[in-house]
């Protein structure tokens, strides 16, 4: 069996580990556009912050490819896939045949057309290690950094550069920071925390026009800057697949075995769309754990195993200047809120299920909440009162506790 994986990040690593859990001998080839050993993409902000380095950022040990008998082709780009001949053509014209193919091409930063953006010399996106290394070269202690986008990528970038630059200003057209994961109240709390640290925000506003070193906002304000970072969002890299299939409008569609509509082609990670069980909707979930678990399932299934990936939900955990934030699921439903100095908790339930939560400050044992959403545990089968108080296994029935903790 010959497995070919396009991509070299979390989904690809998951796929290798999935394949090798079943097939120890089959040939595995990784085609990687980037030249580095597999590294953790979300760690690039930690790199700038000095919390990891070019060794520790590696997602798997140096021996990973050898240990797993993987031939890795770095710095090479897949150009087209011939689904009839089952061949991947690289941009340098080399052809690689496959029996089973995984598309794990990830996502790319979305850069909107903003007037004057082409005149900005020091502009960056923040997605790859190369992005971080280039940004690092350009900043110094007098740099004024303007970040477009107050989502997780924008704010982690802001945190990453903060101590190494003069100032950081974040602009977002939304009325709050982290608009995809926080509600108004928690967003205010986190914003207040970040402002105390010295970060500046311009919300409900966007850049109408760039000049080389300044941005004119819709509100009329002009913000001077030396470095601009565009962190508005990401778009799935679907082109390889879209060339021969029209289903990948917002991301490559797969079944729960991670199979695409095309025989022997699987897809995993940021380039796909997932079925979010917290909303019942198909959407992109560009998250590392999701990518790994999809990749692993794909690998197992490519090698002849049988492992569906069923319980995808949006979930994020991060710290911003030491303040822990964990969120998961959707926030449509009945809310229970508990908050105080330095902490915020929101649990959202609907149809007898926990659908989502926001935890800020105290995040201990949050995984118990996450599992209630992912496992779709009926709330009337547990003591929801105890769950509201704090995440605890005491809320489960004795039988369920024995099953969980006694392994019987």
């Amino acid at each position: 069996m010959k497995y070919v994986i396009i991509g070299n990040s979390a989904a690809a690593v998951g796929c290798v580990e999935g394949i090798r859990s079943i097939d120890k001998g089959g040939e595995i080839i990784i085609i990687s556009k980037e030249s580095q050993h597999t590294y953790s993409r979300p760690l690039i902000s930690y790199y700038l912050e000095g919390k990891t380095d070019l060794e520790k950022i590696k997602y798997r040990p140096d021996s990973f490819y050898i240990d797993n008998k993987v031939e890795v082709m770095t710095g090479r780009e897949a150009d087209t896939i011939d689904i009839k001949k089952k061949i991947v053509r690289l941009s340098d014209a080399e052809q690689i045949g496959y029996d089973k193919l995984l598309i794990a091409t990830g996502s790319s930063p979305f850069v909107p057309a903003i007037k004057g953006l082409e005149d900005v010399r020091n502009k960056f996106t923040f997605m790859s290690l190369n992005d971080a290394l280039q940004l690092e070269k350009s900043i110094n202690e007098s740099s004024r950094v303007l970040i477009i986008g107050a989502g997780l990528i924008g704010l982690k970038c802001a945190e990453g550069v903060f101590k190494r630059v003069n100032s950081v200003t974040v602009v977002d057209m939304a009325d709050r920071i982290l608009p995809n994961v926080l509600d108004n109240e928690s967003a205010k709390m986190v914003q207040c925390w970040l402002e105390k640290k010295g970060m500046q925000f311009r919300l409900n506003d966007s850049v109408a026009q760039f000049n080389e070193n300044s941005a004119l906002l819709d509100s009329g304000e002009t913000v001077e800057f030396d470095i601009a970072v565009i962190a508005i969002g990401v778009r799935p890299n679907t082109k390889l697949f879209s060339d021969f299939n029209s289903s990948a409008k917002y991301g490559i569609l797969t079944d729960e075995m991670q199979r695409t509509e095309v025989d022997d082609i699987y897809a995993a990670g940021d380039c796909t769309v997932s079925f979010d069980i917290s909303t019942g909707k198909i959407r992109t979930l560009a998250l590392l754990p999701n990518a790994y678990m999809q990749g692993e399932c794909a690998g197992i299934n490519m090698a002849g195993g049988n492992k569906p990936y069923r319980n995808a939900i949006p979930m994020n955990s991060t710290k911003l200047f030491g303040l822990p934030i964990i969120t998961a699921g959707s926030y449509e439903g009945e809310a229970f809120i508990d908050c105080g100095e330095g902490f915020y908790k929101k649990l959202v339930s609907k149809d007898n299920l926990l659908k989502g939560f926001i935890l800020i400050g105290n995040v201990e044992r949050a995984g118990i909440y996450t599992s209630l959403i992912r496992e779709q545990v009926p709330l009337d089968s547990i003591d929801y009162g105890l769950i509201k108080e704090k995440p605890q296994l005491m809320a489960f029935s004795k039988t369920e506790r024995i099953k969980k903790l006694g392994g019987i």
């Binding site: 979300p42 990891t52 790994y292 991060t318 998961a328 995984g367």
Partner: protein, 113 residues
């Protein structure tokens, strides 16, 4: 002992849950299909010969493992990184100390499930 630990906050790797006359200890289950290892964004968590252990040097304390562990068995610490039960493989006791020390023999160390 008590004097020596003055002003030192201990972050236990085992969580005791207690309400009225019901109490039990929760520590890492060392899952065969570990969500924490699969979700770890830095590659700091790994499974070696059945024991899920953490490389503190690689951990960036993002708490993704805290977010995903269904038992609530991966704990944040004061120092920033996370900690969890590693079956006392990194200390001198050799055997899980909680098992040896439990006066009621309520915690056992054996392969199940």
């Amino acid at each position: 002992m008590v004097k020596a630990l003055k002003d030192i906050r201990i972050n236990p790797r085992i969580k005791i849950e207690k309400i009225n006359n019901i109490s039990f200890a929760v520590a890492c289950r060392h899952c065969k299909d570990p969500l924490c290892v699969k979700s770890c964004i830095s590659g700091a968590l790994s499974i070696n010969e059945g024991v899920i252990s953490i490389n503190e040097d690689k951990c960036v304390s993002c708490y993704t493992c805290v977010m995903i562990c269904p038992y609530g068995a991966v704990m944040p610490t004061e120092e920033g990184v996370v900690q969890k039960c590693e079956l006392c493989t990194k200390n001198l006791s050799g055997k899980p100390a909680c098992v040896m020390g439990c006066p009621n023999n309520a915690i056992v160390f054996e392969e199940r499930g």
